[in-house]
């Protein structure tokens, strides 16, 4: 055991050198493949998700060219159906959910003043599984086995009788990949926030951002098994002739919808709740005051997390369920406007009661409020069981879901990206170009999506590849397409700004915005070990209240990967936890699992034989380590 005297004796420079050696990765490709550094893993997640965001945006532009005028021949039915299926599946399963998880992986340890996540190798495994999911969707696309039935492939259309070939299997198995990845991240995030908080960060001093990540992690754990179950049932229907969704022999097609939406609705909130966490951090920092209404905001987040599980049937008002039940789900869906509305009040009140500095991240939050609220209100309309019968499955819903997901989650994400970019890269993104991108995206988005509400009410169903001139939808559709192109141009400016600033941006220093939370207490970009010393916290906004030298805690080894575990509620130091070293086994386990998943599209025996390498790699991964004293750690 390393003595306290030894630690105190080490000079700052020597500390850093020893910590860097302890927490650093091996050089070269081996280091790349074995790393368990949460920052590197998160960066990979974010880069892949952003690349897919660009591809999905191009698909959207492609669809808007097809729909800009009546009777366009560009894509044809098959091409159009593939485009919206790929766009929706990729955006929801491979971009929105993973990118929010990636922000958690990157930020949670930094905001906790910790050196890594609770389960570093699980973290690495989750990324490789996510990458497997990305390849599972996009490689078949290159090979023209693209899913073509939308992002929720309702049975029986996706069943063996109506979807021959492997398009539906690709979709279903892609979900299995991403859900394994998401469950791994969620367990990790939850454990990290519960047990790796710095001394003094009681639950009552947990930043809203961490509350949001905690709640969405818990929601993920409860919601995702339902979708894995339903896609697995679909695969067995298709592969071995079970009849879960075949009414002719006693199956039920609505079972598919119940299971899917039991996941699908919480999914929207587990995209949205992290975004609220971004908003909280940005509003607080740029309003130069502690956020208004900590307790109401936390309670709102918790109640959204609970209510989200009680309203999935509002996706199914038209299927002919009993009206009494529908009324219950109407009330539950509308009730979620209370916590959401209260939070909106709290953000505006924070600006109202602060001295705001209008930098790009805060603009994104203002854009978020102005845009998301429209989506929330149109959500009230679709929550009404009778009115939804006129709105569901039309362009009104297309407008609604984009207002909620883009306005409600992507705008805060872009703000968060701009906000934490200096921390990740050491450079600040250009304000001027950031504002250009903001106005182009905000304007283009609203021009592109607001008219869709009207198109839906004018009778335009979603997922149609063509319409005739006689329907009168032409003029608004051209407006929609122009708006989409403007927004896409804004996105190009945003990406160019991010790339350019990486090399040419102004140097950031540790704390370019005057932030309040712990991630701003270390260098930008943070070293492999994140913090020289483990910080101690005495308020919600430690960097604002701690003037003078910051209190820190000593006692962790400099030469072994150790984390400080604290108690779940009061965050009192509990014990020192060994943190796993880099390892190749998570990657090999992910490869074995991927082979099993891909094989199970073709043969049920793949599950049997594929389980053997999975078991072998996981056994190697968890092989017990030698006790510390044999590793040369002298007292």
């Amino acid at each position: 055991m390393t003595g306290a005297a030894d630690i105190h004796a080490a000079s700052d420079a020597e500390r850093c050198a020893r910590l860097a050696k302890t927490w650093g990765d091996a050089p070269g490709l081996w280091g790349f493949l074995t790393t368990t550094d949460h920052k590197k893993i998160a960066a990979r997640y974010i880069l892949v998700a952003m690349a897919l965001l660009v591809l999905d945006g191009l698909l959207a532009v492609d669809m808007r060219l097809q729909l800009a005028f009546p009777a366009v021949k560009r894509l044809g039915p098959q091409g159009f159906n593939e485009s919206f299926s790929l766009h929706g599946s990729s955006m929801l399963f491979l971009v929105s959910v993973p990118v929010m998880e990636a922000m958690a992986i990157w930020l949670v340890p930094l905001m906790l003043g910790q050196r890594n996540m609770a389960f570093p190798r699980l973290n690495a495994f989750s990324f490789w599984m996510y990458l497997g999911g990305v390849l599972m969707l996009w490689i078949p696309h290159i090979a023209n086995v693209t899913p073509d039935l939308g992002w929720f492939e309702y049975a029986p259309l996706s069943g063996p009788n109506y979807a021959p070939g492997h398009r539906a299997d690709v979709w279903a198995q892609m979900i299995t990949f991403t859900e394994v990845a998401a469950l791994a991240v969620s367990v990790n995030t939850f454990a990290t926030i519960m047990r790796l908080r710095p001394p003094g960060m009681t639950l009552a001093r947990l930043p809203i951002f961490l509350w949001s990540m905690l709640i969405s992690a818990l929601m993920t754990i409860f919601a995702l098994p339902a979708v894995m179950l339903v896609t697995s049932m679909l695969i067995t229907d298709r592969l071995v002739g079970t009849h879960f969704f075949d009414p002719a022999v006693g199956g039920d097609v609505l079972l598919f919808q119940h299971l899917f939406w039991f996941f699908g609705h919480p999914e929207v909130y587990l995209i949205f709740i992290p975004a609220l966490g971004f908003v909280a951090s940005i509003v607080e920092t740029f309003s130069r005051r502690v956020g208004f209404g900590y307790v109401p905001v936390v309670l709102s987040l918790v109640s959204i997390g609970v209510l989200a599980f009680g309203l999935w049937v509002h996706h199914m008002f038209a299927v002919g369920l009993p009206k009494l039940g529908n009324s219950f789900y109407t009330a539950a869906s509308m009730a979620i406007a209370v916590p959401t509305g209260l939070q909106i009040f709290c953000w505006i009140a924070t600006i109202f009661g602060g001295k705001p500095v209008f930098r790009t991240p805060l603009l994104w939050v203002i854009g978020f409020i102005a845009t998301f609220v429209i989506g929330g209100l149109s959500g009230l309309m679709t929550a009404s069981a009778p009115l939804d019968l006129q709105l569901t499955d039309t362009y009104f819903v297309v407008a609604h879901l984009h207002y909620v997901l883009v306005g409600g989650a992507m705008f805060p994400l872009f703000g968060a990206f701009t906000f934490w970019y200096p921390k990740a890269t050491g450079r600040v993104m250009s304000e001027a170009w950031g504002k250009v991108a903001f106005w182009l995206i905000l304007g283009g988005f609203n021009l592109g999506f607001f008219p869709m509400h009207i198109l839906g009410l004018m009778g335009m169903p979603r997922r149609i590849y063509t319409y005739s001139d006689a329907m009168g939808w032409g003029p608004l559709n051209i407006v929609v397409s122009i708006g989409s192109v403007i927004a896409a141009g804004g996105a190009a400016v945003f990406v160019a700004n991010a790339l350019f600033s990486y090399w040419r941006g102004a140097k950031a220093g540790p704390d370019p915005w005057g932030g309040a939370t712990l991630e701003w207490a270390t260098q930008s970009p943070p070293p492999a070990y994140n913090f020289d010393h483990i910080p101690v916290v005495d308020s919600l906004t430690p960097l604002w209240t701690q003037t003078g030298p910051r209190p820190v805690l000593e006692g962790l080894s400099l030469d072994h990967r150790e984390l400080l575990l604290t108690s779940p509620v009061e965050a009192e130091p509990d014990y020192r936890q060994h943190s796993p070293t880099p390892s190749i086994w998570p990657l090999l386990a992910a490869l074995a699992t991927s082979a099993m998943f891909v094989g199970s599209i073709f043969s049920p025996w793949a599950l049997v034989w594929g389980a053997l390498p999975v078991g072998a790699t996981i056994t190697a991964w968890f092989w017990p380590k030698q006790p510390r004293r044999h590793l040369g750690d002298k007292p």
Partner: protein, 339 residues
């Protein structure tokens, strides 16, 4: 910033006004032509008002907050704010939200109850079956009590609550005629019902609203609200067998339909063609559109459809017939006479 907020507000108001004024049409929520659609239209109007006011309140608060911040200098961050007034604001805001939601929830419940209350006690007189990618229409002939079959064109009697039974023959479809009613899904293994009480004569249009495969986009339903006398006449006309061929070319067309590939899928009552896989052609020329709204029904479109169905509606279940141009012409000529 407040300028931007007011611009958005005026844009919103302008679009709402435009939407209410200029968006009427044969397939539009804005042109309700039945009791059910009118109730829903009224509910939408209420929602638009409540939500519009809520949105303006949010924007106004945001604008005030931004206006108040003008010229404020970034000093030391405020860590112990005094928010007494804002706390009261939060409570008032919560009360406003709850009041608004109660209004909407109660209105929604009342409309739902009205929709349920309009259900008549009797058996359905219209049955619609969704199929990839067309609609099988069956109506009960009050004269004989038998079900009479047609396709892709539905007539409804004015001022009578008509119960409609909807089912699916393959995948999930959704029956939606916005001017007359909200959607009801056609779910395999289930029988769903809705009631329509039309209040306005004339043609409206419906369209499948649940993605149902390749040609989901071209699955339209032509709907006519008739006076009760016209409706009775339409039912009687549909119940009659196919008209006999009027000339030798038409007779040759009939022979080709009965003995060739057409009769393997289609039915023409009164002839040997009696299959039920595809739309009933007994009175095809009495309809306005071909192939579930894919094209207006004319001699040209009929002949083109017979020769090359995949050109008009790629992926449709109808295969290329392989008829020679002369034969296709004869078939089209015969079908053209089936009013």
């Amino acid at each position: 910033m407040s300028g931007r907020a007011s611009r958005i507000a005026s844009l919103f108001a302008g679009l709402c006004a435009a939407s209410l004024a200029g968006c009427a049409g044969p397939q539009s929520v804005f042109s309700p032509a039945s009791d059910q659609a009118r109730w829903l239209h009224g509910l939408f109007g209420l929602m638009l008002w409540v939500c519009g006011i809520a949105y303006l309140l949010v924007l106004a608060f945001l604008a005030v907050a931004l206006w108040r911040a003008r010229g404020a200098l970034a000093e030391t961050p405020i860590t112990e704010p005094h928010d007494g007034r804002l706390q009261w604001g939060l409570r008032a805001w919560a009360a406003l939200i709850v009041a608004g939601l109660l209004t909407l929830a109660v209105a929604s419940f009342l409309v739902d109850r009205a929709l349920a209350g309009a259900e008549p006690r009797g058996d359905p007189s219209v049955r619609v079956t969704g199929q990839q990618w067309w609609w099988r229409i069956e109506v009960k002939d009050p004269a004989s009590g038998r079900w009479v079959e047609s396709a892709n064109e539905l007539h409804l009697p004015l001022n009578q609550p008509t119960p409609v039974e909807v089912v699916s023959a393959d995948v999930i479809h959704s029956f939606w005629i916005p001017n007359l009613s909200g959607k009801i899904d056609m779910v395999p293994g289930r029988v769903n019902r809705l009631t329509i009480t039309p209040r306005q004569l004339g043609w409206v249009r419906g369209q499948c609203a649940e993605f149902c495969g390749l040609q989901h986009a071209q699955m339209a339903l032509d709907v006519k609200v008739d006076s009760p006398a016209d409706y009775a006449a339409w039912v009687a006309r549909q119940a009659a067998p196919a008209a006999a061929p009027k000339d030798p070319v038409a007779a040759r067309g009939l022979a080709l339909v009965q003995d060739g590939t057409c009769g393997q899928c289609h039915a023409l009552r009164g002839t040997a063609a009696a299959a039920r896989a595809a739309p009933d052609l007994t009175h095809i020329a009495g309809r306005r559109f071909l192939a579930a709204g894919a094209a207006p029904l004319t001699r040209g479109s009929l002949q083109g459809w017979i020769a090359q169905p995949q050109a008009l509606k790629p992926g449709a279940e109808m295969p290329a017939t392989g008829l020679s141009p002369r034969d296709a012409e004869a078939v089209a000529h015969y079908l053209e006479g089936l009013t």
